[in-house]
């Protein structure tokens, strides 16, 4: 089996390669964040870069910049950041099942660099029963480092360019992210339970998009998980599904 011969280096480079579409998709957001941070949010250059270097959470950074522009206080912004990032707890819990064998020293860097994009790229590899090779943590590290360096470059460019790039999403580069998420999710929909899960997630997400602080995302994800679980349980019949592998 070729995967058993795979090296750390091959995993690391594979993680970078598979993340390239996400790098393109993240670029306009990094640009806009950098530009907004030093203009409407009123942060210093180092404050703006500090967000990207130390917090490294795209949507939370945007929400914080928006709150700063409205004059919100530090406690409100920190609490909002917590709520916006709650979905990472779902990612962490999902990935942790595959990381039980890892030395603890791996967990802090992989946790710090855990984003929507890296999760989307790596979960398929962790989950792939056909790939029994080692060093999957190096794959995630490659994806993480690529996302991190990319985010810093684009934030810095946005900071330098000031507010000239506020129209960047109008170029449609953010669609690279959309289409990559789709290419990752669709092959995961392998049965009726997963289909119901995807439909409920999308439907509830649209219905709840007006809720504050990205709460609609959490509500939609939890409803979808429950719906998938319920369909799986019902279609398994009277025998508990836990007993089937």
């Amino acid at each position: 089996m070729p995967e058993l011969m795979i090296s750390r280096r091959q995993r690391f480079l594979g993680g970078i390669r598979d993340t390239v579409p996400m790098l393109i998709g993240a670029a306009p957001f990094g640009l806009i964040f950098g530009a907004l941070a030093v203009t409407s949010a009123g942060l210093s250059v180092w404050g703006a870069m500090g967000f990207s270097l130390l917090v490294f959470a795209g949507s939370a950074q945007f929400v914080a910049a928006g709150l700063l522009a409205q004059g919100a206080g530090i406690p409100v912004i920190v609490l909002t950041t917590f709520v916006v990032n709650l979905r990472h707890a779902l990612y962490g819990a999902s990935l942790a099942l595959f990381m039980m064998h890892l030395p603890r020293r791996w967990l802090a860097p992989l946790a710090f660099w855990l984003t929507d994009e890296t999760y989307a790229v790596v979960i398929g590899t962790w989950n792939d029963p056909g790939d029994r090779g080692p060093f999957k943590e190096w794959y995630q590290l490659g994806s993480s480092v690529a996302m991190y360096l990319n985010w810093q470059c684009w934030t810095l460019t946005g900071v330098i360019a000031g507010n000239q790039f506020q129209q960047a999403t109008d170029w449609g580069l953010d669609f690279a992210m959309v289409v990559t998420f789709i290419g990752i999710v669709v092959p995961m929909v392998v049965n009726r339970a997963m289909l119901v899960c995807a439909v409920v997630a999308g439907g509830v997400g649209v219905l709840c998009h007006g809720l504050p602080h990205n709460l609609g995302l959490i509500v939609a994800a939890l409803a979808a998980m429950g719906a998938g679980y319920a369909v799986e349980t019902l279609s398994a019949g009277p025998t508990p599904a836990e007993e089937t592998p």
């Binding site: 180092w46 404050g47 500090g50 967000f51 130390l54 917090v55 959470a57 939370a60 914080a64 530090i74 920190v78 950041t81 917590f82 709650l86 990472h88 779902l90 990612y91 962490g92 819990a93 999902s94 990935l95 942790a96 099942l97 990381m99 039980m100 603890r104 967990l107 802090a108 710090f112 855990l114 999760y119 979960i123 989950n127 449609g172 669609f175 690279a176 959309v178 289409v179 990559t180 998420f181 789709i182 290419g183 999710v185 669709v186 997963m194 409920v200 997630a201 999308g202 997400g205 649209v206 998009h209 609609g216 995302l217 939609a220 994800a221 979808a224 998980m225 429950g226 998938g228 679980y229």
Partner: protein, 107 residues
């Protein structure tokens, strides 16, 4: 904001962001989870990623836009079809982008 306030804000956001990411990653794997929870977690990728993408594509300028003038929606539907029929990630990305930009240019 003063430099000290900026530092406090960044440290506070760092604490809650890293705290959530690290706690779920480090704690979940260290003690056995009930089988029901593990089954539920199998739905996380499809649930969260769909909940991210669908509203992003459907909601344009703050309101649902379900129609042929929404290039994001048209491109996304084409990408779903390509991904479903081919199962090929790179093909889905490239073809989806081409359709999206072509459609945007035409409409």
């Amino acid at each position: 904001m003063s430099p000290l306030q900026e530092i406090l804000l960044i440290l506070g956001m760092l604490a809650v962001t890293f705290g959530v990411r690290y706690a779920s990653l480090a704690l979940t794997g260290r003690f056995p989870l009930p089988p029901g929870v593990i089954r539920l977690l199998a739905y996380v990728p499809v649930a969260v990623l769909s909940a991210l993408v669908v509203p992003y594509v459907v909601i344009r300028d703050g309101a649902p836009a379900v129609g042929p003038d929404n290039a994001y929606l048209v491109g996304a539907i084409v990408a779903v079809v390509i991904s479903y029929t081919s199962g090929h990630l790179l093909l889905t990305i490239i073809a989806g982008m081409l359709v999206f930009f072509g459609y945007q240019a035409l409409v």
